[in-house]
């Protein structure tokens, strides 16, 4: 019995040792741990800008030091392959936090040409945030912050609110659904007192897999409200008694219902349940924190936001763009009806009716004059 055991153990050891060479593992510092990827197209070539952890030049602070690589290729896959050729490091995508797409690549060649890698690669994470920029994607990964340090991919990642669902998972889900249109968060560089700052400017809307338009300012504000994204920007509400009031959206709860009217036209009712904080207002009128005043501000805000949202929805519907999942809602509520129009949903979209109803809860946080 002991001889048998010894033979077994010996065989096991031989197998273990003889196969140990099969491991192609590289040590951690021999890997290129990618934090952010910028993709753009220049002269019919894919230009990939990669922000990765730099282990050769460690920073003395807690923040890891990063390095920027720019790689070109005929296709995205080719460019990605070139990373290891250029650096002799094994790229690791699992720590990637952000994908920045330039307008040119999303508008011209379409997303389907390269997004597959981020869906199927075993290291790719579906919750990686994805955004679009109007200028070169590489600029955003190279931009230096106040302390003359490169803005990390994590900083850009944190700029995009999670509730906007601007990640690979939701982006691809909408792209593949055939009903809803995909959208990407749009970030921009602004020059403030000679210092470049990155901020979330609005949203880029896609038709099929091509970028068709950017929305910003009030349109973007309404979009964010309808997507339940709080703290995007401030709303200025004019009130004849109180003057200018600046409001910040703290919470947005959107419920959309659909009804089929007699003529079989879907009518959507969008209920907005909002919570706003009033952090600044003019000093025209003395007032206390009374219910009446809150209601007054709420009504003004409600009017404004209802009008704004109605306008945005109307614009989208008019262009046959479904970014608010109207198709899915109709499909879930009236599957039999939807089955009849399934193939032609986008043309039906233009005929859909809608109504925006809002209920606003006001929190007064101060009455500082502007």
């Amino acid at each position: 019995m002991k001889i048998k055991k010894s033979i077994f153990l010996l065989l096991f050891a031989i197998i273990l040792l003889s196969f140990s060479g099969c491991s192609e593992n590289s040590q951690l510092h021999q890997k290129l741990i990618i934090q952010g990827i910028g993709i753009e197209s220049i002269e019919n070539e894919y230009v990939l800008t990669v922000q990765a952890l730099d282990f050769k030049n460690p920073s003395k602070e807690d923040k890891p030091s990063t390095k920027i690589l720019e790689i070109r290729g005929n296709s995205l896959l080719n460019a990605l392959e070139n990373i290891s050729k250029q650096t002799s490091l094994t790229p690791v995508y699992s720590q990637n936090m952000i994908i920045i797409l330039s307008e040119s690549i999303v508008k011209n060649s379409g997303v389907n040409n390269f997004i597959d890698f981020f869906i199927r690669h075993f290291e790719a994470r579906p919750k990686v945030k994805i955004c679009v920029v109007k200028d070169r994607a590489s600029e955003y990964l190279k931009i230096k912050s106040e302390d003359n340090k490169v803005l990390t991919a994590k900083d850009i990642h944190d700029l995009i609110p999670s509730s906007l669902n601007s990640d690979v998972l939701h982006f691809v889900s909408n792209l593949k659904s055939g009903l809803s249109n995909s959208y990407l968060s749009w970030i921009n560089i602004e020059d403030k007192n000679g210092l470049k700052q990155v901020h979330l400017k609005g949203v880029g809307i896609l038709l099929e897999d091509n970028l068709v338009k950017f929305i910003e300012k009030d349109e973007a504000l309404a979009f964010m409200v309808l997507k339940s994204v709080p703290n995007f920007g401030t709303f200025v509400v004019e009130n004849k008694n109180l003057g200018k009031i600046i409001c910040l959206l703290e919470k947005s709860d959107v419920k959309t219902n659909v009804n089929l009217e007699e003529g079989k036209t879907p009518k959507y009712k969008i209920n907005l349940n909002l919570e706003i904080s009033v952090f600044s207002m003019s000093d025209k009128l003395e007032f206390d924190f009374e219910e009446e005043i809150k209601n007054s501000i709420g009504e003004e805000f409600s009017k404004k936001i209802t009008a704004l949202c109605s306008e945005v929805i109307g614009n989208f519907l008019g262009q046959g763009v479904d970014v608010f999942d109207f198709g899915k809602i109709l499909k879930n509520s009236y599957p039999k009806y939807f089955k009849k129009i399934d193939g032609d949903w986008k043309s039906h979209l233009k005929n859909c009716k809608y109504e925006v109803v809002s209920k606003v809860n006001v929190i007064i946080t101060g009455k500082e004059p502007i």
Partner: protein
């Protein structure tokens, strides 16, 4: 007397005191140092010299002296030389009368024994400071004075062809399983050793199944109170003369995590420390392997800042993470062994060398990474929490480091499951080693996953043979 002199080859410690009683020659045979000289003089030699012995024949005189003259209480009649040699070597004095075919062994032991002191390997925060000593008789006393029950039984046998070491089975007749007791005796009868010097000699014989396992199903303790607790649950303690360690069988896996201190603490804290021990076990076994495996193959699991620190450390060291981890663990094991064996005055030197060489120089010279050193330190500290499991842990951690370095967390999980199978396949005297977790008994969890209060613990005394999956009754 010639026989004795011949057998002992005139050994220097053999003392024979001849006394003439009338016309009959008598002798008191002892081994110097094994008996108390005073006791021999007061209760054996003096009374014989002073007495007026009645009887005509040597046998009558022998019986008279044995019954009316010698005042020693412990008297055993010995008829064979073999028994006589055993007795004399156990510290008895032999009284022989010329012309008689038997002798009497007198209990006048007086060999030097170590005083009862606190066991160094099983310290307790609260509780008794008494630990077992090398003498089996004193150990029996220590147990008896804690368990004042007539059901407590000691059974002594001699093991070792040459050493003839006294081995004492200690159990409670109303609690122990007859099957278990029978099996233990059977196993002990198979001991074919020449010398039984230490408790560890008997462990392989007491392991019930022949299969290889890293974990032992024979417990070891230095505390008489622990023995009392164990035998009151139907277990059998085995005291071995000459060693302060008692063996306990059957011994289950969960018992490695139970300590007598748990029962003197608040229940919530005892439960907390018990979970700490479970955590420490997993940490000490798996942490270095997981560290190597994850850092090499699955860096995505690690949060960014930790990953960055590990990568920075690895980039400055000349070895791969696996080699580095094995290397530091080996150095640590060498230092631990040196610390154990080295004469105490030199102990400080080892500490200084260890702290300076490994802690300072190796890291600052870039030979070893800081995170690796941290992992090794954590592993070492965790393994001290369950000292009884140190042996399997120290081997397993090396196995997991190698597997982690070659196969990543997938390999670690496969080998870990294989270790689980190994533990689960083990039985201790018909009781599954993993009982009462697998097979599961909810009621028994009161002292496994938690340490319930005494009001609940005392509700029903679960005997070891009553545990789920037990084949013995």
């Amino acid at each position: 007397m010639q026989k004795f002199k011949a057998e002992f080859d005139n050994s220097a410690d053999l003392c024979i005191k001849y006394i003439n009683v009338g016309n009959v020659s008598c002798a008191v045979i002892t081994l110097a140092g094994m008996v108390s000289k005073d006791t021999v003089a007061i209760s054996v030699v003096n009374p014989i010299i002073d007495a007026s012995v009645k009887g005509e024949t040597p046998l009558e005189k022998f019986n008279y002296i044995k019954d009316y003259v010698i005042s020693a209480v412990d008297q055993t009649q010995v008829c064979t030389y073999e028994d006589a040699f055993n007795m004399i070597m156990s510290g008895f004095a032999l009284f022989a009368v010329d012309g008689c075919d038997s002798m009497v062994a007198l209990g006048v032991q007086g060999f030097p024994v170590r005083a009862v002191s606190e066991p160094s390997s099983e310290l307790m925060q609260r509780g008794s400071r008494e630990g077992l000593v090398e003498s089996v008789n004193i150990n029996m006393t220590l147990i008896r004075k804690r368990l004042k029950s007539p059901k407590l039984k000691f059974e002594v046998m001699n093991l070792g062809a040459t050493s003839q070491t006294a081995v004492c089975l200690c159990y409670m007749t109303n609690k122990v399983s007859e099957d278990i007791l029978k099996k233990i005796k059977e196993n002990l009868s198979k001991v074919n050793l020449d010398m039984v010097i230490e408790a560890g000699y008997l462990v392989p014989y007491l392991e019930d199944d022949g299969d290889f396992s890293l974990f032992s199903s024979v417990g070891m303790t230095e505390r008489p109170d622990t023995i009392c607790g164990k035998i009151s649950e139907g277990r059998v303690a085995i005291l071995i003369d000459g060693t302060p360690n008692a063996l306990i069988v059957p011994y289950l896996f969960v018992e490695y995590f139970q300590h007598l201190d748990d029962y003197s603490m608040h229940t919530y804290f005892a439960t907390f420390t018990r979970w700490l021990k479970y955590l420490a076990f997993f940490m000490s076994t798996l942490l270095p392997g997981l560290y190597v495996g994850i850092s090499t193959f699955n860096p995505e699991i690690l949060p960014g800042p930790i990953l960055n620190k590990i990568a920075l450390a690895v980039s400055t060291t000349p070895f791969s993470l696996m080699t580095e981890t094995i290397f530091i663990h080996l150095i640590y094991e060498i230092m631990r062994e040196a610390g154990l064996r080295i004469p105490r005055p030199l102990g400080h030197a080892v500490s200084i060398v260890g702290a300076l060489v490994i802690g300072e120089t190796a890291v600052s010279s870039g030979l070893i990474g800081g995170p690796t050193l941290m992992v090794v330190a954590l592993t070492a500290i965790s393994s001290y929490v369950i000292p009884n499991l140190y042996e399997p842990i120290s081997i397993l951690k090396f196995v997991f480091i190698i597997v982690g370095g070659l196969l990543g967390i997938w390999g670690i999980m496969i080998i870990f499951t294989a270790v689980l199978v190994n533990i689960s396949s083990k039985k201790s005297y018909g009781i599954p080693f993993t009982s009462p977790i697998a097979p599961f008994k909810f009621f028994a969890m009161r002292d496994v996953l938690t340490r319930c209060g005494w009001s609940f613990l005392s509700k029903k005394n679960i005997k070891v043979q009553d545990l789920p999956g037990s084949e013995v009754k």
